[in-house]
Amino acid sequence: MTRTTGTTGNHPGREPLLAVRDLRVEFGLRGQRSTQAVDGVTFDIQPGEHVGLVGESGSGKSVTSLAVMGLLPRRGVRTSGEVRYDGRNLLDLGQSAMSKLRGRDIAMVFQDPMTSLNPVVTVGVQVAEVISRHNDVSKKEARDRAGDLLKRVGIPDPVRRLKEYPHQLSGGMRQRVLIAIALACNPRLLIADEPTTALDVTIQAQVLEVLKELVAETDAALLMITHDLGVVAGLCDRVNVMYSGRIVESTTRDVLFSQPRHPYTGGLLRSIPRLDSPRGEPLHAIPGSPTSTLPWTQGCAFAPRCERVVAACTDQPPALTDEGIRHVRCHHPLEPTDPVTDARSEVAR
């Protein structure tokens, strides 16, 4: 099941920047029934590559990102597997080493810009403190750089904005500030955890544009965590689809949108409303809810909601099979000829 770098497609032969191997995260205090939030997740991120991690709420995508950052609480959480970055396993790293790495090597943009900034500290101080934490610069230098950063993320009149408090900025601007903070020390990997979910639809596109430009400018790799396939279409080279703690399909963006193999991926693509569908026709939805899952140990977790369920699905857990251009975890995958339209043209921006 373990993939080598050779099979990740885009950059054969290169050492991955981040290699997640069989990552497992289990929640639950001793003596209580535990919950397996992340269940053997394996993926690579090449330097400069944009990777999507897609799934619904509760599929374990945010927990995966927090585990990579070492930000999960220690109490009641068991993490195992390997998160290899720069030849080191981050899960074994001590707190202070990890703290030095965060923000400088790996940075993160969170979902909610309203609560991710400290309300009683000015924006300037919050940007500058990251710069002075990881660089040996004077206060003035840090402040100047903070101003430059705000300018780069498209905030007009940055000198004035530096003196303002988060509640004086709009949601879109706050998310720009968070992007500026995350990219302040030119990290090699940026993890964006649903960075546009909390924003207005009109602002989403702008923030994504800023993110895309800056990531390209700084040559950082991007792990985009999202449930929005539109974001994936616009931003990602490779996509990992997660369901109930496991990766069910992993491939390049183009392959995913043109020929999804996993019925869940297919369902996600079909649930995107289309402009050319007849009016009055009900929107397509995947039946059931993410809570109606089967434990992976008994079969396929998606089986209770799957349209293509066969006997094997509830009998034994499907393995992740390598098909060359993709990996898929399914007993009865969609055939490439099955009629799933090219949704990419519809949602690509």
Binding site: R102, R104, F110, S116, R133, K163, Y165, Q168
Partner: protein, 327 residues
């Protein structure tokens, strides 16, 4: 930097450099020039609240009177100059020379009341300050370690808070009596006793709000940027947690002033019965309450009004600082 389109309307960055940025002016009228902090917003809300204004005026008047008492008072305090006019059956009432009459020791009542404000202010402020400094330090220690300290931090938190629990279990009256027994009957005994009694209140309050703030997103975001724990506690968690503690300090001032009066009423404070102190004045008035209630009413009303002022102001401050009341 080229952004394809600038958003229009509220919520957008507005026009660059324009002082009248529509997005901000709509929300906070005065926010255009400088930043509007949580505190500045609170002051604005306070000014719109009549209870806050009344409370602030009472507090202000009390403080001013306390400070300039020597200028306002017609005579010297605690002299007993006119003791000859006081008979067991009668204390001279208001007259031209003594606007509020004499007290039972033969001093001018108005003078005693004015100087009494001074005593109450000093005792109240100093004892609350003692409680605040000690209590907030303990709370900061426990809350800081508890919020970001991991397993070791939990141990520190528990240790400090059990100490505080022990302090809480000692009644303040007992404490005051014990301290008075050690230090003798003087002002320090009252100040320390009232201050120590306030320590657990501040410690628990600050720790509680720091623990709550420690779970917030911006703390997670700061850790995700590698910000050091000490900095997270001191410049992120603490400033966000101070609000309730400061409000409590204002409210505690009222309680402290009443407690000063109560403890000196019980004879634990100032040894000299003739000194200008509202609590002592009540004690002295007790004997003559049936004949001359005036003697008790003046200091009683003074205590009540002052406590009311601090309480009104403190309550209004709490409301103004409540994040739910913002905007």
């Amino acid at each position: 930097m080229s952004i394809p389109m600038m958003p229009a309307g509220p919520g957008g960055p507005g026009d660059p450099g324009g002082p009248g940025d529509p997005a901000t002016t709509m929300l906070e009228p005065t926010a255009t020039e400088h930043g509007t902090s949580l505190w500045r917003g609170a002051v604005q809300r306070l000014r719109r609240n009549p209870a806050a204004i009344i409370g602030a005026l009472i507090v202000l008047a009390f403080v001013v009177v306390a400070i300039i008492a020597p200028l306002l008072a017609p005579y010297q305090p605690g002299t007993g100059e006119w003791a000859g006019q006081v008979t067991p059956g009668k204390v001279p009432g208001p007259s031209d020379e003594h606007v509020l009459g004499l007290d039972s020791f033969g001093s001018d009542m108005l003078t005693q009341l004015l100087y009494g404000a001074r005593q109450s202010l000093v005792y109240g402020v100093v004892s609350t300050a003692v409680g605040l400094v000690v209590g907030a330090s303990l709370g900061l220690l426990a809350g800081g370690f508890g919020a970001v300290g991991g397993r070791f931090g939990k141990a520190v938190d528990t240790l400090v808070m059990r100490l505080v629990d022990i302090m809480l279990s000692v009644p303040s009256l007992l404490l005051a009596v014990s301290i008075a027994a050690v230090l003798g009957k003087n002002a320090y005994a009252i100040i320390i006793a009232i201050g120590v009694a306030q320590v657990p209140i501040f410690a628990r309050l600050l720790r509680g709000s720091m623990l709550a703030q420690g779970r917030s997103d911006y703390v997670l975001a700061a850790s995700a940027l590698g910000i050091r724990k000490r900095r997270i506690v001191m410049s992120h968690v603490l400033p966000n947690s101070l609000g309730p503690t400061i409000v409590q300090a204002t409210l505690n001032l009222a309680t402290a002033i009443i407690e000063v009066a109560a403890l000196s009423y019980l004879g634990l404070g100032e040894g000299n019965p003739a000194v200008a102190e509202w609590g002592r004045m009540l004690v002295a008035a007790q004997d003559r309450f049936a004949v001359d209630p005036r003697l008790a009413i003046y200091p009683g009303v003074a205590i009540a009004i002052t406590a009311l002022g601090f309480t009104l102001f403190g309550e209004a401050l709490r409301e103004a600082l409540d994040p739910r009341s913002r905007r």
